[in-house]
């Protein structure tokens, strides 16, 4: 079968199981776009290439399948950069395909030429510049294999325009030959035996679950582990959804804005079983005082994560699911009554400080998040932006659902929520997809509202509008004497804006209107945007100040205590 490069790309995508591509056409991908309609590939036209990368990312996080985006050379390619970096920091498997100027123009500063393989070198798992059509089939095969195997990550393929037009007798390779890339799947049996022994001997065991559990689809194995030895489970931000939040053993998120009782548990545990997480600074706080009493077992697919940030007593390198299966088969059942009682005492103390248990009529995001949870029966795919709205969502929407939270953790990319939700909804059309976002973040990729309408995606977009870039404002309040430099922000009339795009818009200013509006939003078939005008100076608690120990949290002041 003789095909040109553009058709080879599409044919390869179909063979890799791709069904949808998020993209934006341009001069050097005209051939690719010309081939696209010949295949069963849905194209979602975004309004800015950054949206395409985030949508591909949202798609993969919701479905577990590789997300794909297209962009043209030069500005099209550079607009993908933030999205690719977001995927890289969170180990999201996406394949980004960019056009490049024709081979004979490369290096001549041609129109819309940019060295995108050079630019994305440190933010891709691997990347390719294809200047010969004969390399193209193998590059496509390798790109998908590399993106989804081992520790997943983004791969970029930059294809010169003439390569897209050049013809080749097409044969899709069945295997790859990558002598330098052999990800470990099975963990070392001796290490796993030793881990089982350490866990069995523990008095205060604690499981610490991260994104790796989701990436490896190991949620059942994780549950089995925790239940077998009655070990409480804390998660990272991206570990949310890997263990049901309403499970009695679940302590929720730990770290900078984690639950106080989750952080206390880390500081008192004697064995910490870290599963598919990487001890980010947002989780450890001051490393020297992190988990001081614990022997740390670190299970991860990436050997370079072992010992990178914290000392590890027992590493197990391998695919989480494989390792947990093997580990679980060696565990002795155990109960840790005293330990669980202690943890629950901390939990009760936290509940006393919870803002939802205070007398107030203020319209505050924690209340809204909890009501969204009630109204959606905890079964929505929630896509959040970054900042206060993200932390409140993580704290107050009780995620039992696997892959139920999509959020930018590592890079912390504002503007992520709306385009990522587009990807999630395209990937999971039968599920409810809700967006929670601040009035800052929504304005970073607001152009994608047009994509929502064109693609008829019934997203429910909830704006927590406090008139500030809230997280930075909170830091300014706490550590910079309330000098709100650069953080007050205005926006358009979001309801009118929604109307202009053809989206139903509502504004809520009172508590009593929250639930009826959420119910209404849910009943309306199409997309809905709600502008919640919330209290301006509300803070996220608890908070571990940057570089502080996670034992020393700033707690929400009790009613009779002075505020900052």
């Amino acid at each position: 079968m003789k095909l040109d490069g553009a058709h080879i790309v599409c044919e390869s995508l179909v063979r890799e199981g791709v069904e949808v591509v998020f993209g934006y056409p341009g001069g050097t991908v005209i051939n690719l776009y010309d081939a696209l309609p010949d295949y069963a590939l849905r194209h979602v036209l975004v309004r800015h290439e950054q949206g395409a990368a985030h949508a591909a990312d949202g798609y993969t996080r919701a479905t577990g399948k590789v997300g794909v985006c297209f962009a043209t050379s030069g500005p099209g390619a550079t607009n993908l950069v933030t999205g690719i970096a977001t995927a890289y920091l969170d180990s999201s498997p996406i394949v980004a395909i960019t056009g490049q100027v024709p081979t004979n123009h490369i290096g001549k500063d041609a129109f819309q030429e940019v060295d995108i393989t050079g630019i994305t070198l440190p933010i891709t798992k691997h990347n390719y510049l294809v200047t010969d059509v004969r390399e193209l089939p193998m590059v496509m095969k390798e790109a998908f294999y590399i993106a989804r195997s081992g520790r997943p990550g983004p791969v970029l393929i930059d294809i010169a325009k003439d390569v897209q037009a050049a013809e080749l007798r097409f044969e899709y390779p069945e295997t790859t030959d990558l002598p330098g890339y052999r990800p470990t799947v099975r963990g070392h049996e001796g290490q796993i035996r030793q881990a089982a022994r350490m866990i069995s001997e523990a008095e205060r065991p604690l499981v610490f679950a991260g994104h790796g559990v989701t990436l490896s689809n190991a949620q059942e194995e994780l549950k089995e582990l925790a239940e077998a030895v009655h070990a409480p489970v804390v998660t990272t931000l991206l570990g949310i959804g890997s263990f049901p939040r309403t499970h009695p053993l679940c302590l929720g998120m730990s770290g900078m804005h984690g639950e106080a009782y989750a952080n206390y548990a880390i500081q008192q545990a004697d064995v910490l079983v870290a599963v598919g997480m990487r001890f980010s600074d947002r989780v450890t706080g001051k490393v020297q005082s992190f988990a001081p009493h614990a022997k740390i077992i670190h299970i991860d697919v990436d050997p370079a994560e072992i010992g990178k940030n914290v000392r590890v007593d027992l590493p197990v390198v391998g695919d989480i699911r494989h390792v947990l299966k093997s580990l679980n088969s060696r565990l002795h059942r155990a109960e840790h009554r005293e330990w669980l009682e202690q943890v629950n005492a901390w939990r009760q103390e936290s509940e006393g400080r919870d803002i939802l248990n205070r007398e107030t009529d203020d319209l505050i995001p924690p209340y809204i998040m909890r009501q969204i949870w009630h109204v959606t029966k905890g079964d929505a795919i929630m896509v959040t932006d970054v900042g206060q709205n993200q932390m409140w969502e993580a704290q107050y929407y009780l995620h039992d659902k696997f892959r139920g939270l999509i959020t930018s953790g590592g890079l912390g990319t504002m503007g992520f929520a709306l385009p990522a939700a587009i990807g999630a909804k395209v990937g999971c059309p039968d599920q409810e997809v809700w967006v929670t976002v601040g009035d800052g973040g929504i304005q970073m990729n607001i152009q994608e509202l047009a994509t929502v309408v064109q693609e008829r995606l019934p997203l429910k977009i909830m704006i927590m509008n406090n008139g500030y870039l809230g997280m930075v404002r909170q830091w300014q309040q706490m550590f910079f004497g309330r000098r709100y430099s650069g953080t007050p922000i205005t926006g358009p009339d979001f309801v009118k804006l929604a109307d202009a795009y053809g989206i139903k818009g509502f504004r809520v200013t009172e508590r009593q209107d929250v639930v009826p509006t959420l119910e209404l939003a849910r009943q309306i078939e199409g997309p809905v945007l709600v502008d919640f005008v919330v209290k301006g100076e509300e803070n996220v608690y608890p908070m571990v100040p940057s570089g502080g120990s996670i034992s020393e949290m700033m707690r929400r002041p009790l009613d009779d205590e002075e505020t900052v």
Binding site: L121, P122, L129, G180, P303
Partner: protein, 164 residues
């Protein structure tokens, strides 16, 4: 603490860029880097000398290095007792009728080689360990070194009894 690493990498465009980018991004400090063909076609061999403060840091360097798809092998136990190190230098030194013979004497003592002679200078090639090169350079300095090119360290593990 200087660490010597040997890496075998697939000879593809951009591979050197990937290595350099990795070391810069991870804040690893490269003392020297030399690249050339290996015994296998399509595979290049790199010798790197890296400054590592701790054993943990060395481990990180090796592990991150391994993650590059085109790196097929990293040898990290390249210690002086297990390996031989060599470096080559080309040195252009000022030389006239009066100084020429003194320089040639030094060249003989160090088993270096004169590879070019001009009325006002000589170019010398020398191979050896860095220490040997350093002392040779120090002895030449009073004559006036006009130009110098050093390759950086290349290393190879010693053969062992019975097996390679």
């Amino acid at each position: 603490m200087k660490q010597t690493l040997i890496a075998l990498v697939q000879d593809k465009p951009g591979v050197l860029d990937r290595v350099a980018s990795l070391f810069r991004r991870r804040n690893f400090n490269i003392e020297s880097l030399s690249v050339g063909h290996s015994e296998t076609s399509g595979i290049s061999r790199m010798t790197l000398v890296v400054n590592c403060d701790t054993e943990t840091q060395k481990e990180q360097v090796v592990k991150q290095f391994h993650k590059l798809i085109e790196v097929t092998k990293v040898i990290d136990d390249v210690t002086p007792d297990r390996a031989v190190y060599r470096e080559l230098a080309l040195i252009k030194v000022s030389a006239n009728i009066e100084t020429r013979s003194a320089i040639i004497q030094l060249v003989d003592v160090f088993r270096a080689q004169v590879i070019d002679v001009a009325p006002a200078s000589m170019t010398i090639e020398i191979t050896g360990t860095e220490d040997k090169l350093d002392s040779f350079v120090n002895l030449l300095r009073p004559f006036g070194i006009k130009e110098m090119a050093r390759t950086g360290r290349v290393a190879m593990l010693r053969g062992t009894n019975g097996k390679q």
